[in-house]
Symmetry: C2
Subunit: 253 residues, 2 copies
Amino acid sequence: MPNAAAIVTAALLVIGDEILSGRTKDKNIGYVADYLTALGIDLREVRVVPDDETEIVDALNALRARYSYVFTTGGIGPTHDDITADCVAKAFGVGISHDERAVAMLRERYANAEDLTEARLRMARIPHGADLVENPISKAPGFRIGNVIVMAGVPSIMQAMLDAVAPTLRTGVKMQSVSIDTRALPEGLYGTALGAVQKEHPGVVIGSYPSFDGKRFTNQIVVRARDEAVLAAAAAAVEAMLSRLESERAEKP
Amino acid sequence: MPNAAAIVTAALLVIGDEILSGRTKDKNIGYVADYLTALGIDLREVRVVPDDETEIVDALNALRARYSYVFTTGGIGPTHDDITADCVAKAFGVGISHDERAVAMLRERYANAEDLTEARLRMARIPHGADLVENPISKAPGFRIGNVIVMAGVPSIMQAMLDAVAPTLRTGVKMQSVSIDTRALPEGLYGTALGAVQKEHPGVVIGSYPSFDGKRFTNQIVVRARDEAVLAAAAAAVEAMLSRLESERAEKP
């Protein structure tokens, strides 16, 4: 059993003008959040920054100092606006050049020498000292340097790179969660009582999440904890609280 | 005509454990990005932080110092995990208490006095000096203090609050964009030439965006600028470059 004190954290840095302009709708944040939660890594922060060297370098340095891992998506393709690898090298203060292992991967894909254009070769520029992250889809690799893992922005490639890197990651005790339907009770009726349950169960994190379908609200209460017994006790307290409020409501004239 | 030098910037701060755990998939980032771009406000950064006072206050203070506006989503409901209003008050160093205007809005919705529970009244706690942002859907208002605009996390309510606040926002010259289909030319073939076009047209921002449908990549080149003539010239240069590469390719034996 892993050490219960071992909490492994992460940040995700999404790089790209196209997300901030609205041109592209991000599909990676939710996927990475689910994936890391399932692995036992707590995603603690996400940032989206433009294709701007200073912004990327500053965000990388702020995040890698704070979290166990920093995952990046975007900016590792063959065009001039793909500047992530250079920014990572700058953040770490290391050089960057064509990596022989990465060039070999691209040669495998572009067997015909004239197809391995200067632009495509850009994708083999890797900061010195980095390990490569395999890309089974289009070959051009991601990489890992220190606690920073650099991945593609195209969702299917990003997902394959996460699969490739996952076995090498340190993980902590998984956060478990229980979702509780509030049986049509609105937040405004259980809010105060739920706050009291949270106070009595400091070992769990309780959230209340409304959704609105255009006509009415439905709510879910989510209880989260790393310890199963602590989680079960808090979830039972929430259920008991909801049952109490439900019968009080039914008894009203 | 607005002053071409007037660039208005914004950051979006998404607040909520549920986004970072993957439990809820954010639908607000892409919407806000499109909305602000259409208004003439440049979204420059997005951060997602958990329901943690220090994280929220620190992010608010970092972002409000850097950008014309900071929009927040999430954490203004009636439950104990809704701490955004308190964090905003703390970031601005002002008090917070039940706001009479907000209480009146809630009374309108909860006409029966016993329905206006302590939990619901929490939603009328507003930092001192803030203006309210109307919520036509569920009445509990957002608010604006200084350059920070605080909105709900539920997408339909967030969208209504954006509509309510939009007419009061300062806007800049809109960023215009042209999307160019690359006629089945891959990034690796036009990457170097596109970089040259970007260098010759420093007044525009050119991005190249691949998508992968599971079988093949398609690409779009997006040219962006505030000045229409500058934009048109750069877009024409991209088209000419693609035509040249296309005919070179067709001429190959």
